[in-house]
Every structure is written in structure tokens, then in C-alpha cells.
């Protein structure tokens, strides 16, 4: 349930969580929606167990990124911080409307269009950490290849220029937060307007930063591909105040470009499927194109402060 691979980005049209709903419904035999309690209940013999989020371990042992990211850092970062986000989220949502929702749905609902509900920070931090662990691998770093490299060179000029921008953005997040590489769709979000048919060139890679728990899932049309945690707890035991050293070594030695490539592929597949769907709708029932709701403008946080 917590797997980033299960992430389906917010769909643009009405029913913006539609993409996420395949999680509970695809396992309809084990999950039933309880009207009485307003939550998903799993039948396990005679006992009813409310679905809970679980702390997912990183996809490698806790000492696998030594000496770049120490086992001690992992024991606190995953074993304490990440665990606390999971435990607190489970406590917070119990018996509320959010109980039984997928993690991604919980994030979007609790973000509440920017007027955030208490569960948002914990839910988003659970997701962010899962995504972060899977952004790294032992023996990572180096250079991406194939389609991803082509897009990086197209959108940043060169891989080196991308690295410079990523470092700058990550080091100038003033306070706790995250830096991201995301695949951004260029789409009009204007009331009844029909989008011009988006071409591949209208979608591009962008580097962004976000404060505290915020992540690109809450911005429309941003598909996260890579993240680095720049909360001090992510690097303080190993690098103390030297955030830039941590960011540099993360890029040079830890990034799992395989993971980034496969996320790009998935994002493209999701976008293509949705575009086909929209196209079918447009051609099939010409009058139904007016059903679109305006979506909020994404918060652009990539202002670069060169100080």
C-alpha cells in the first residue's frame, strides 16, 4: 500500500483521486467499505481489522550505504523518524474519514487545497521517506542513460548543468524540506477550455524544492522522479552543517538512476493513458468536455536564491 510504484498522479479531470481508487477496489474481495464506520475494513476471520499503514523497510540493509550514509543515521532516520510518522498517522486517522484511504489519497485529501489538515504532515512524510529510500541504492550515482539522459540534456542543457541546479535548489531550501526532480506536464487549467493536444515537447523535467512535508503530489501535473531529504536529521550525524557536501555525495554516489528512469516511464504511461481517455471522451461525447473543474495553480517553489 505504501509502495511508490503504486503512485498514480492526480488526474486532471473531475474526480481527481480516480487514479488512486484502484488500490482498494482491486482487492474488493478482502476490503469492504463499511458505511457504519466510514472506513475500509479487512475481514480476518471473526475479527475486524482496520487497514493500517506499515513502516516499509528501505530496499537494502541499513548499513548498505556506508560510509556515505551511516548505519547510525539510518537507524534514527528510518527506525525513529520514519516510524514516528507512520505511527502518528495511524493514530491520527483512526475513526476519521481518512481511515482506510490509500496513502496518496490521504495526502491529497489532507492537503485540502493548501488549507492543510493535521494528518497531512505525517502522511506526506511517510510517502516522502519511502520515495527517498527508493531514490538511492548501494553503488548508485554516476550518470543516467537512455531517454532520461536525453530529456535531462534537452531540459537543462547538460547533465552537469542539471547537477548544478539540483545542488543549488537543495542547498537553498531555507529550513527543513525536500528537493525534487519532477516531470511536469504543461497543461491549461482554465475552466471550460479544451487543452490543445499536448505534445511530448510540452512536458519537461523541472527541479523544485518544497518546505517541510510538502511534495509534488499536491501540485497538479507534477510527477516526482527523484528526491533528496534536506531536513537536518537526514545528514546531521554524518555531515553536521555541511549540507552541500551531503547533496554532492548523494548525487555522485547514491542516486539510483534506474529507479528514476522507471518512474519516468511510469509517469509517461499514466499521462498517455489519461490523454487517450480524454481524447476518446472528446470525440465520443463532444458536449461532455465542459465537465472539467479548474484546478488550483501549483505552488512554484523553485525560486533560486543565489546568495
Amino acid at each position: 500500500m505504501l509502495s511508490p510504484s503504486a503512485f498514480v498522479p492526480t488526474s486532471h479531470s473531475n474526480g481527481c483521486f480516480a487514479g488512486f481508487l484502484n488500490l482498494p477496489s482491486s482487492s474488493a474481495t478482502t476490503f469492504q467499505f463499511s458505511k457504519k464506520q466510514g472506513s475500509w475494513i479487512r475481514k480476518a476471520g471473526d475479527t475486524e481489522i482496520t487497514a493500517k499503514f506499515e513502516l516499509k523497510p528501505p530496499p537494502y540493509p541499513l548499513d548498505a550505504l556506508e560510509p556515505i550514509m551511516s548505519q547510525e543515521t539510518f537507524e534514527y532516520h528510518w527506525g525513529k523518524h520514519h516510524r514516528a510518522y507512520v505511527d502518528n498517522l495511524n493514530k491520527q486517522i483512526e475513526g476519521t474519514d481518512l481511515d482506510g484511504k490509500s496513502l496518496e489519497e490521504t495526502i491529497i485529501m489532507a492537503y485540502n487545497n493548501g488549507d492543510i489538515l493535521p494528518a497531512f504532515n505525517n502522511a506526506a512524510q511517510v510517502w516522502n521517506h519511502d520515495f527517498f529510500w527508493e531514490s538511492m541504492k548501494p553503488g548508485g550515482g554516476g550518470k543516467p542513460s537512455g531517454e532520461l539522459l536525453k530529456l535531462i540534456e534537452r531540459d537543462f542543457g547538460s547533465f552537469e548543468k542539471f547537477v548544478d541546479q539540483f545542488k543549488l535548489v537543495a542547498s537553498t531550501q531555507f529550513g527543513s524540506g525536500w528537493a525534487w526532480l519532477a516531470y511536469k506536464e504543461s497543461r491549461l487549467d482554465v475552466g471550460n477550455a479544451v487543452n490543445p493536444l499536448a505534445t511530448e515537447e510540452d512536458k519537461k523535467l523541472v527541479v523544485l524544492k518544497s518546505p517541510n512535508a510538502v511534495n509534488p503530489l499536491v501540485w497538479n501535473h507534477h510527477h516526482p522522479l527523484l528526491t533528496i531529504d534536506v531536513w537536518e536529521h537526514a545528514y546531521y550525524l554524518d555531515y553536521q552543517n555541511r549540507r552541500l557536501d551531503y547533496i554532492s555525495v548523494f548525487i555522485d554516489k547514491l542516486v539510483s538512476w534506474d529507479a528514476v528512469s522507471s518512474r519516468l516511464e511510469k509517469a509517461k504511461a499514466v499521462i498517455a493513458e489519461r490523454e487517450r481517455e480524454e481524447d476518446r471522451k472528446r470525440r465520443g461525447e463532444g458536449k461532455s468536455t465542459t465537465g472539467k473543474e479548474a484546478t488550483p495553480t501549483p505552488e512554484i517553489l523553485a525560486d533560486i536564491d543565489t546568495n
Partner: protein, 240 residues
């Protein structure tokens, strides 16, 4: 024309100097732009790095003071210099763009300068409760010092991400307040009449090497080295 240039430079430099004294036209003409600017420097601590142990380790104090605070000062000076240039060139876009860096780094300098004064080794009175008018005001507004401490600790523990928790005086309403600010926002960003009496840094860098993820323990312990004498002096001065 030459005289006008000279005058505008002189006006500018007096804006950016802390020093209100007018400077001679000859001096202004001779000096470079950056020499006209006040350059902020790292204030000394009134105690040794290890003097707050075991509440705050010497290692934390040293990195916090020499590295973190110094970096805020370095970047604040840099941003002010860029601002000086931008204002001189009437470059509105750069002037506005610099505000984030000025607020963050200038705030970091202001906040840490207060924080160091808020702390004192136990043998120099750290942790001794306020007895004078501030003590009375705390009892009046919060019920007791213990109640205030509970309030500050709860606010500080609940703060998401990096920031500060404050005991402030609202000079207009003449009352004490507990407030939090995000990142390096100084207390005054929460209201122009707010004066900080006591600020506790709840950035992870303030406690992580010693307390790790357990921020509440750091908050519980720090009261043993709080310099109430300083807070009382500010209170006396600002409330009279």
C-alpha cells in the same frame, strides 16, 4: 550631476550603516560601496562552549556558534551587499528577489544573537527562576512558571520542521505571549509590537548530535540553563 551622485551615495550609505553619524562627502567619495556597508560579525559568547554541559554539549555549541551562526552572518552580509548594488542601480527586480535571503539570513543572525544571551551556565545563574517583575508577570499570565514551561515545550515540540519557540512581550497589549516562528523568521514577523524575551531554537542542528530525534527531552532540559536574568532585564526595559 557629480554632486547628485555623491549625495545619493551618501544617503544610501547612511541607510545601510548602523551608525547614524553623517559621513563627510570626501570620505564617501573615496570609499568603495562595500566599505560603506556595515559588516556584521559573529558575537562572542559570554561562556565557554562546554559550560552548558550536560544540558547542551560543547560540540553542539561550537558547531552551532562557529558554523551555523557564522554562515547566517556571511550570507546576510553578502545579501546586503547585493542589495546595496541593486538599490544603487535601481534594479527593482533584484531588490525584491533578495528579500528572502535577507529575511532568512538576517533572521538567523538576530535569533541566534538572542539565543546565546538566553543561556547561562548553572554556576552563573542558569536555570534560576525569575523573581522580579517578570516573575510576577509570568504568574499573572500563565498561572506559574511551570505552566509557562509546559506551554513552551508543547508549542516547541509541535512545531513542524525548523523554527523557534518564543516567550515575548506584546508592548501594545502589555502582556506576555508564547509564539512560534518558522525557519529563521524573527519574532517581530508575528507582530510589530512583539519583543523577544526568550527564544529557543528548535532546529534539529540545535540538539541532534545529543538528543537525536527526541526534541521533547531537549526542551525539557534546556530550562536548566535558561538565563532569566537577561529576559528580566529586557522585560524591565521594554515594559517601563
Amino acid at each position: 550631476m557629480a554632486v547628485r551622485t555623491l549625495l545619493s551615495r551618501k544617503t544610501l550609505s547612511s541607510i545601510f550603516r548602523n551608525d547614524p553619524k553623517p559621513i563627510g562627502a570626501a570620505a564617501a567619495a573615496a570609499s568603495t560601496q562595500s566599505r560603506d556597508l556595515h559588516v556584521f560579525t559573529l558575537p562572542d559568547l559570554a561562556y565557554d562552549y562546554g559550560a552548558l554541559e550536560p544540558v547542551i554539549s560543547g560540540e553542539i555549541m561550537q558547531i552551532h556558534h562557529q558554523k551555523h551562526h557564522q554562515t547566517y552572518i556571511t550570507n546576510y552580509n553578502k545579501a546586503l551587499e547585493q542589495l546595496h548594488d541593486a538599490v544603487g542601480k535601481a534594479d527593482a527586480s533584484t531588490t525584491v528577489k533578495l528579500q528572502n535571503a535577507i529575511k532568512f539570513n538576517g533572521g538567523g543572525h538576530i535569533n541566534h544573537s538572542i539565543f546565546w544571551k538566553n543561556l547561562a551556565p548553572v554556576r552563573e545563574g542558569g536555570g534560576e527562576p525569575p523573581k522580579d517583575s517578570l516573575g510576577w508577570a509570568i504568574d499573572t499570565h500563565f498561572g506559574s512558571l511551570e505552566a509557562l514551561i509546559q506551554n513552551v515545550n508543547a508549542e516547541g515540540a509541535a512545531l513542524q520542521g525548523s523554527g523557534w519557540v518564543w516567550l515575548g512581550l506584546d508592548k501594545e497589549l502589555k502582556r506576555l505571549v508564547v509564539e512560534t516562528t518558522a525557519n529563521q523568521d524573527p519574532l517581530v514577523t508575528k507582530g510589530p509590537s512583539l519583543v523577544p524575551l526568550l527564544g529557543i531554537d528548535v532546529w534539529e542542528h540545535a540538539y541532534y548530535l545529543q538528543y537525536k530525534n527526541v526534541r521533547p527531552d531537549y526542551l525539557k532540559n534546556i530550562w536548566k540553563v535558561i538565563n532569566w536574568k537577561y529576559a528580566s532585564e529586557v522585560y524591565e526595559k521594554e515594559s517601563s
